[in-house]
């Protein structure tokens, strides 16, 4: 628990929920907000790479829904709204090689302030 406090609040809630709900064999959470048109230290844009046995029999969209819902419930419980952007890679242990890096997000195009 003590090491979780090094992350800002939304990221902390996300990490905790994804870890407890999905029991990932690998989890990477990246706050990509600094690449976007948002105030400093925002927690608006995230990318997650989750590798979990729980995805084994799920279609791509169901995996993404599982991750979205897990994050949404955790943020609601912590009193936050869902973040502006959440990129998801949801893999099964068989589909994942430990040296694999997460994909890169496309560059921001301004977002029109929204």
């Amino acid at each position: 628990m003590s090491q979780a406090t090094q992350y800002p609040p939304i990221e902390t809630a996300m990490r905790k929920a994804l870890t407890t709900e999905l029991k990932p064999v690998f989890l990477e959470v990246i706050n990509e907000s600094p690449q976007h048109n948002v105030p400093k230290r925002s927690e608006s844009h995230f990318r997650v790479l989750v590798v979990s046995e729980k995805f084994n029999d799920l279609t791509l969209i169901k995996r993404h829904r599982l991750v979205n819902d897990t994050v949404k419930n955790a943020l609601t419980a912590a009193g936050f709204e869902f973040m502006h952007a959440l990129s998801i890679e949801a893999k099964t242990p068989k589909q994942w090689e430990p040296e694999q890096e997460p994909e890169k997000s496309p560059p921001c195009l301004g977002g029109f302030g929204k």
Binding site: L60, S105, L109, G111
Partner: protein
């Protein structure tokens, strides 16, 4: 599998300079977008209802809700979806949710999906940018398009290549 789609990607990038004029013309002619469904600023309570959306997602075989329009996407994720569709030569209907807050909220509630862009094929919600990218990379997008009668330009290019004597062999 991965190598196949990397090859496909590389080919499509390589082909881009040759075909960009043609594609641009195609987009202008055939891809419809609706900044015209821009509404007067909606109050927060206004949300496009389910039955309207059920019709909206069936106005074309592929329908996309995005930020900006296909010629000027306003978000990197929306742009990625536009580029994928362009590579496959898909004609689609696009809706700019930045022009219409009620539509933006409505579609999120309709799919129970928290982010934009959102892509529908044959009226069915397929996913957002990540899923489209993964379908594209795995080659599954070609199959999904085929199911609704759209032959991907990438598939055509691949088949043309396999015809003997149509193109010189590259090793």
């Amino acid at each position: 599998m991965n190598r196949i789609c990397q090859t496909l990607l590389r080919q499509s990038y390589a082909r881009a300079p040759l075909t960009s004029n043609h594609v641009a013309a195609t987009v202008t002619r055939s891809t419809r977008w609706y900044s015209a469904d821009a509404s007067p600023p909606a109050s927060a309570a206004d949300v496009v209802d389910k039955s309207t959306l059920e019709k909206l997602v069936r106005t074309n075989k592929v329908v996309i809700f995005m930020k900006g329009n296909p010629q000027a996407p306003r978000c990197g994720f929306s742009n990625a979806v536009v580029q994928i569709m362009r590579m496959h030569g898909v004609q689609y209907d696009a809706h700019d949710v930045l022009q219409n807050e009620a539509l933006r909220q409505g579609v999120k509630e309709f799919t129970d999906w928290p982010t934009i862009p959102q892509v529908f094929i044959d009226g069915e919600f397929v996913g957002g940018c990540d899923i489209l990218m993964q379908l594209h990379q795995s080659g599954d997008l070609i199959e999904e398009l085929k199911k609704v009668g759209i032959i991907s330009e990438l598939l055509k290019a691949e088949e043309a290549k396999q015809e003997p004597n149509t193109e010189e062999k590259k090793k």
